[in-house]
């Protein structure tokens, strides 16, 4: 699925858009509330198979998210959130992220993530369903730990 990355690769993050150009309307919603509703210059989301960056003017896209880092940049303000899977929709310069949880980077509980990773490593799944759940849990824990270590 390299198609998703052709237009904006993550490296473009450094290329600041010109002043006065259009910005992205980013909305992050969880089942409980809208976490974020802001105008930003750049968004990087963790798609299911790797990171994708969006700049203003991105063509419409619907994608599945993995477990990882959501990065936003407006002017020189960089913000980081951990997103716990979900979906992303891009259209008309609006990026909507639907996720069960969006945790600001500094609120990640690394110890809990480490523990759950250990517990999952020790577990022995007996069915296909359990194996799938284990993989999901591992990916989630790994994503959290990776993000926390970047601090």
């Amino acid at each position: 699925m390299a198609k998703a990355f052709e237009e904006e690769i993550v490296g473009d993050e450094k290329a600041a858009p010109k002043k006065g150009s259009k910005r992205i309307h980013l909305v992050v919603v969880t089942p409980e509330k809208a976490v974020l509703d802001a105008l930003v210059d750049f968004v990087a989301v963790p798609l299911f198979d790797g990171e994708a960056g969006f700049l203003p003017g991105r063509s419409p896209l619907i994608g599945r998210l993995g477990y990882g880092e959501l990065r936003t940049r407006s002017a020189d303000q960089l913000e980081r959130y951990f997103v716990d899977g979900g979906f992303v929709q891009v259209r008309d310069n609006a990026v909507t992220i639907l996720t069960p949880r969006a945790i600001p980077a500094r609120e990640i509980d690394v110890n809990a993530a480490m523990e759950s990773q250990k517990a999952l490593e020790a577990s022995r799944p007996t069915s296909l369903f359990e194996a799938g759940e284990r993989d999901k849990g591992m990916a989630r824990a790994r994503g959290m730990i990776r993000m926390a270590s970047k601090r």
Binding site: E32, A34, I62, R64, G86, D92, T96, L98, P100
Partner: protein, 304 residues
């Protein structure tokens, strides 16, 4: 003076009760507003999911997911009953429990074994009294159900369903139709019958306007990562979780409304009672004065 004093005592008691019910009404009103706000905020997610389902539905028509498959023979079902932890909420709990009991009886006659799970102390004591032992009970869902807690529950139900331990999942709860109408219902959440997530206008203009805007948007060619069918598949469990969460939110809102109405009624009753007691007291006092006066007049007449 004995009778008049007894009436005063009763009136004082009634006034104290009035104070309590009035306070409870105010608290319930406050909680209701908070619960409704939560429900409205949660609606944004539901609406977006519905929009995604609609967009993806255009691109892919066949969705296959084990959660969508209806079992030809239902042998075991699970019934989750949502009641409140606290009473004094009018018919709120009674209505839900009646609906739940009816479903259990219907299942019994159809030869379906029903596992029972109950949230809320009121329901737990009721089923204990009926000698129906719930499999699992929950008391930690207060008036602010957290999505994380419900997700745990939902994951367990998905697992039970996929492993074949249950063939159907029903939830008995009070549905919030509008601020003046709440209905106790039993809904089947698993298997997921359709992906369409019900989006209702909550009676608030804020919730209603964006909903209509969504349907008016013109279609655009989307790029899908991965393909539309597999995103839809991933949406199936999400839509189930959202529905379950919605049940809890609805129940929380309805509980507060029921309590508000019940306590409002109790306050009004106490008002009426205090008024009639005041009248009785006045009458008793007046008749006593008249009697004493008559005595005095009688005594002076005898002296003359």
């Amino acid at each position: 003076m004995a009778k008049a004093r007894a009436i005063i005592k009763r009136r004082k008691a009634v006034e104290n009760i009035r104070k309590i019910t009035r306070t409870m009404e105010l608290i319930a009103t406050n909680r209701f507003k908070k619960a409704l706000n939560r429900a409205v905020e949660a609606e944004a997610y539901t609406r977006k999911i519905a929009e995604l389902v609609a967009e993806l539905g255009k691109a892919s028509h066949e969705t296959q997911h084990p959660l969508l498959v209806e079992r030809p023979r239902v042998e075991r079902s699970l019934l989750l009953v949502l009641t409140s932890n606290r009473g004094l909420a009018g018919g709120y709990n009674a209505n839900v429990l009646r609906a739940a009991t009816n479903r259990i009886q219907d299942d019994g006659t159809a030869g379906i074994g029903t596992d029972l799970e109950v949230a809320g102390k009121r329901g737990i004591t009721y089923f204990r009294f009926r000698k129906l032992t719930p499999q699992t009970t929950y008391t930690h869902f207060e008036d602010k159900p957290q999505y994380a807690d419900i997700e745990v529950l939902a994951d367990r139900y998905i697992k039970l369903f996929l492993t074949g331990s249950i063939d159907r999942l029903d939830v008995a709860y009070t549905e919030f139709v509008s601020s003046s109408r709440q209905v106790a219902v039993v809904r089947t959440l698993l298997p997921v019958t359709s992906l369409e997530v019900a989006v209702r206008a909550r009676g608030t203009p804020a919730a209603a306007t964006p909903g209509t805007k969504v349907s008016l948007r013109e279609p655009v060619p989307y790029e899908f990562a991965p393909d539309a069918a597999s995103i839809l598949e991933e949406l199936v469990p999400v839509s189930f979780k959202v529905r379950l969460f919605k049940c809890f939110l609805d129940a929380a809102v309805s509980e507060q409304i029921a309590r508000m109405v019940a306590m409002g009624g109790a306050t009004k009753n106490a008002d009426d009672l205090a008024k009639s007691l005041t009248r009785q007291y006045n009458r008793a006092r007046q008749s006593q004065i008249t009697r004493e006066l008559a005595d005095i007049v009688g005594a002076t007449a005898a002296l003359d």
